[in-house]
């Protein structure tokens, strides 16, 4: 009876958790002095609000500066840079995530897959495993607890506006997040096939490769696509620091109050994210039904 209870919550405990979450949200709102009835009275200029959202219905492909030049080349360049920085950052993040994710998981040294009685390599792996995993977990916690915009500021002051600064600003925090998620997915993947292959004489490395990795891979791929979508948005926002991505053009148009231009760039970004979503969805379906 006690074994059953310790595994789950009773209905009253569950209720307490829900009430606790709601109370925390209300307390935070009260502390910040949020008052829904006063929210709109703080709006400084309804005219600006109207203009900005009105422009959403009338995006433009010619500049609002009156010079009459065509916006498409700028949109294209902004999109192009956004994608290139996101791809480079995400590529490096995948390397960091894969290597650190594997090391941060306990699958490669813990449990029956590594048999302490079978040779010195396995004994060594068992001995150093916890140390390596602990160290790597601290590193990835550090990487992901600093936001990409803070990393960008850091690298900007170190390198100035350079492509490497933007790529690293995306790659480090994203690598940290990927590593954390990958390691959890590896640790949660079912180990039945791996333990059978172990019983068929497989070494621990080979068994992890064949028996465990494929079980975590579909989830890892799905999550990586989601993070790529996030990387596109981060890459666009990095433009506000002067990198040539969509954010650069958006901030320039914003400063000139060219809201219709701003919306053109925003729609381009939405379109880009949509295309990536369609692409990843197509890949997932192909994988499932092939």
């Amino acid at each position: 009876m006690s074994a059953v209870r310790s595994r789950g919550r009773t209905p009253s405990e569950r209720l307490r958790v829900v009430v606790g979450i709601v109370l925390a949200a209300i307390l935070a709102a009260v502390y910040l002095g949020l008052d829904p009835t006063e929210f709109f009275s703080h709006v400084r200029s309804w005219k600006v609000v109207r203009e900005f959202f009105g422009a959403a219905l009338a995006p433009t492909l010619t500049s609002e500066s009156g010079s009459g030049y065509f916006l498409l080349p700028q949109i294209w360049e902004g999109l192009h840079a956004t994608v290139v920085f996101a791809v480079a950052g995400m590529g490096l993040a995948l390397v960091i995530g894969t290597v650190f994710g594997f090391l941060a998981s306990s699958a490669w040294w813990e449990g029956e897959l590594v048999d302490a009685s079978s040779g010195w390599t396995d004994r060594a792996v068992r001995a150093i495993g916890p140390v390596v995993t602990g160290t790597v977990r601290v590193i990835i916690a550090f990487l992901r607890s600093i936001h990409e915009l803070l990393w960008a500021m850091l690298f900007l002051s170190a390198f100035g506006i350079s492509n490497a600064a933007a790529v690293l600003a995306i790659a480090l925090p994203y690598g940290g997040v990927l590593a954390k998620i990958f390691s959890e997915m590896l640790d949660e993947a079912p180990r039945d096939a791996a333990s059978l292959l172990r019983a068929a004489g497989g070494g621990s490395g080979t068994v992890l490769l064949v028996g465990l990795m494929p079980r975590a891979l579909p989830d890892i791929a799905t999550y990586s696509f989601y993070r790529f979508e996030c990387a596109l948005r981060s890459s666009a926002v990095l433009g506000f620091f002067g990198f040539p991505t969509l954010g650069y053009y958006i901030s320039a148009s914003f400063e000139n109050l060219y809201y219709r231009e701003v919306w053109s760039y925003l729609y381009a970004l939405i379109l880009l994210v949509g295309v990536v979503e369609l692409w990843s969805g197509w890949l997932r379906r192909r994988q499932e039904f092939a």
């Binding site: 040779g119 096939a193 068929a200 004489g201 497989g202 080979t206 064949v210 079980r215």
Partner: protein, 260 residues
């Protein structure tokens, strides 16, 4: 050159639970044996001893004439690489394709890179060899199918092909009829017995279905509460022995109740 097996006075304890209690069993090379008995009797533990994945707490297990405990780690891996197992839950990798699951059977004898190649860019010779095995188990058209799209019976055939791809000397199966629907139980056993005979393998399976065991196996070993109850040719097994093997469950329950 298939292997003979000998278990001498072997006991296995998990904490305070005694799973096997002084078991003696000798199986000749090329012999087919069914371990019968109620669930929880120790059949699976005995199979794990024979598969060299579990060491006895006391006593010894000799496979191919050598005590398993005396073997070096390298030697033990080489031994395990020639023991094909079809476990009750099959233990396939559902995300991988059939040929990849079968290729994984040779994990004990392939290098890391060699196996990576077998999975991603298999050589024509490898595919041909796997296709031949699939043909033997009757699912040659499923070579490139993902395992999670196969039926239970087809999956079991993949597991059998994987065991055969190990080029085993010893074939072990744990309750092979429980992973297929009852109508296919006979097919599953027919297949296992056929491949064991064709390859002249030593073949040991656990099976709680006594009628099927009598029909398919020349020798039955009755296991109950960690001990060997009888070890007879299947035409010699008498109804009384079978009744004792299974009916004693009742007083076990009583005993369990009394110790609580």
């Amino acid at each position: 050159m298939t292997w003979d097996l000998s278990v001498r006075n072997a006991s296995v304890r998990f904490g305070t639970t005694v799973a096997l209690d002084g078991v003696d069993l000798a199986i000749k090379a090329g012999e087919s044996v069914a371990l019968v008995g109620p669930s929880g009797s120790g059949k699976t533990t005995l199979l794990r001893l024979l598969g060299a994945v579990l060491s006895p707490t006391a006593g010894s297990v000799r496979i191919d004439g050598t005590d398993v405990a005396q073997r070096s780690p390298r030697d033990l891996r080489a031994l395990r690489s020639r023991i094909g197992t079809v476990p009750q839950d099959l233990r396939l990798v559902p995300e991988l394709r059939v040929y990849q699951n079968v290729a994984a059977g040779r994990v004990g004898r392939r290098s890391f890179l060699g196996l990576t190649r077998d999975l991603l860019f298999p050589a024509q010779a490898t595919l041909t060899e796997i296709h031949t095995l699939l043909d033997r188990v009757g699912i040659e058209e499923k070579l490139y199918h993902r395992v999670d799209q196969l039926s239970g019976g087809q999956r079991q055939r993949v597991a059998v092909a994987r065991a055969l791809y190990q080029e085993p000397e010893l074939l072990l199966a744990d309750e092979p009829v429980s992973s297929v629907d009852p109508a296919r139980a006979r097919d599953a056993l027919e297949l296992l017995c056929k491949v064991a005979a064709e390859h002249h393998l030593t073949f040991v399976t656990s099976l709680h279905h006594i009628d099927l065991a009598r029909e398919f196996f020349p020798r039955l070993v009755g296991v109950r509460r960690g001990r060997i109850e009888f070890d007879v040719r299947s035409e010699d097994v008498d109804e009384g022995a079978i009744e004792r093997l299974y009916s004693l469950e009742a007083d076990e329950l009583l005993e369990e109740g009394a110790t609580r």
